[in-house]
Symmetry: C2
Subunit: 147 residues, 2 copies
DNA sequence: AAAATAACTAACTAAAACAATAGGTTTACT
DNA sequence: AGTAAACCTATTGTTTTAGTTAGTTATTTT
């Protein structure tokens, strides 16, 4: 029941671009170094993000990635769904064991409530929200904050 | 990012006891048959639930399991945490890659919000709530409902 | 034009988690 | 004594995870 590294690294990487570039192109290598993530593994993550049109890529020397939209228009939900799937804690197909599709199992009530609560959180946090939160905490907190 | 069969089967089994016994002892075999789950696998689930004192066991012939408390005093959260762990989508230890314990990563904001939303849902649904929901749906719906 | 850079792709691999199965032992009822 | 059922431990096959490896392709820099 855990978020995998794809989702965790992906969110970190997207935040890294949003925070460290001012609209500039950022290479996977530089993100991987800052975030201490395997470069080739992170390339796979970006390949997925690009196919979902959340980032744009520029090939060749001095190439890299750039956000496909402003941080205020990119939600955590978009990023995590792209990398992790539908974000449902229980899939519809797994809900009913031996119970046919037309029939319902009362446990769905629980899974639906959990799923909805997750969707509600991730769809209402944008990259901009996180950047604002970051700057707020950085100023008001005694401990160091990182992206 | 999925709930495993332990949690899914466990919740189904607990509801099964709550619905099909009126305070009576229920054998794993009968639950396994009704719910179409492997009996020996379900035994492992009940072993965990018993150690967490959510159910009581009676050994020997005609033995079985019984809820350790009334359905109104058993939450979905108790059951799922026992079988799945802490129900956190991201563990504290996994949050900071290369970032020491005293330092903070802004992504925690997201994980904390998701974790809290899950806890809030599961801790506020009791077995009794589910039984009530079951009876309500059973009467008002055209499709069959199962535990 | 050549070299360098960086995205892009596919195939592979080690390790862990998952979902059981198997084969017993112990306890209590009939 | 026989049986039913909880209880316990080990093993197994499969899938997922988290990368690694080894390249190809496109663009810029020298």
């Amino acid at each position: 029941m855990k978020m995998s590294t794809k989702g965790r690294y992906g969110l970190r990487a997207m935040l890294d671009i949003a925070a460290n570039s001012r609209g500039d192109i950022v290479s996977v290598k530089s993100i991987a170094e800052r975030q201490n993530i395997s470069e080739s593994y992170l390339e796979q993550v970006f390949s997925t993000l690009r196919k979902a049109a959340i980032v744009k890529s520029i090939k060749g020397a001095q190439g890299g990635y750039i956000l496909a939209d402003t941080p205020s228009n990119i939600t955590v939900g978009q990023i995590l769904r792209t990398l992790e799937g539908n974000l449902n804690i229980v899939d519809i197909d797994d809900r009913d064991n031996g119970v046919s599709r037309e029939e319902k199992c009362i446990n769905e009530y629980v899974w639906n409530r959990i799923n909805e609560s997750i969707h509600k959180v991730v769809d209402n946090i944008t990259l901009e929200d996180l950047l604002n939160e970051y700057h707020k905490l950085k100023e008001n907190s005694s401990v160091m904050y990182y992206i």
